[in-house]
């Protein structure tokens, strides 16, 4: 009788908790694909306009002011900010799950990363809203 070797990531948790975790991971997987396709366009269009059509030294405050005359660019930038942060934070979550093995370190590293992402989401949103 061969003994069953448990996956290193498996922990003894209740079936309900395991099911809800698997459910979350399925949504996470789908989110990465859908947000990835949207970000493909948002990020590449943003880079093309800001770094190829224009030079980085000419994208001054005056440039942003002219651009933000059209509120659609504000929405574009805010979508790029929020989807980019969510997609990146979730990607970093995969990396942390793979490399940060000790439970204590994992809590510390994850709360730091989520905290920084949350603060920067707030800062970025505020920047777009309060710009005059």
């Amino acid at each position: 009788m061969a003994s069953v070797i448990k996956s290193p990531q498996s922990r003894d948790v209740s079936p309900q908790r395991r099911a809800s975790r698997q459910n979350f991971e399925t949504w996470s997987w789908l989110f990465m694909r859908v947000s990835g396709i949207i970000l493909f366009f948002l990020a590449l269009v943003h880079f093309f306009i800001m770094h190829i059509l224009h030079d980085v030294t000419t994208t001054t405050v005056a440039f942003v002011a002219a651009r933000y005359q059209n509120p659609l660019w504000k929405i574009f930038d805010w979508l790029l900010l929020s989807l980019g942060l969510l997609h990146g934070t979730n990607g970093l979550r995969y990396i942390m799950d793979d490399y940060v093995r000790s439970p204590l370190k994992r809590v510390l590293v994850k709360s730091t990363v989520y905290g920084v992402s949350g603060i920067l989401f707030f800062v970025g949103t505020l920047t777009i809203i309060t710009f005059k």
Partner: protein
Amino acid sequence: MSPSSTMYKGKTGQWAFVLHRITGFLVFMFILLHIVDVSTLNSPHIYNSIHKLYGNIFLRLFEVGLLFALLYHALNGLRVVMIDFFPKAIKNEKGVFLFMLSLAGVMTLVGAVYILKPFFTGKV
């Protein structure tokens, strides 16, 4: 789960995965920095001097690196989506990976001309 059930197997697939992870990490780190530099928008003096700083040759080379990371991550991401959603449509995974990698490389070289030229000619 048995090892044979995983989607990501074989040599090129693993390199594609490693490169995807590294480029994703780097792009994300840049986004964090970028949110901070853009947050100075309401202090025009600081914002404009930061963007002048971005014009030096080292940060322009960094910008070219960012372009490659972004292009590779975006193109290989499309390949991953294709593998997951249309497994039959993508028969030659290795070929598609090499195509995406080359496309990212060529597009980076073209972009590098636009990004680096103003530094040498002084014209923007």
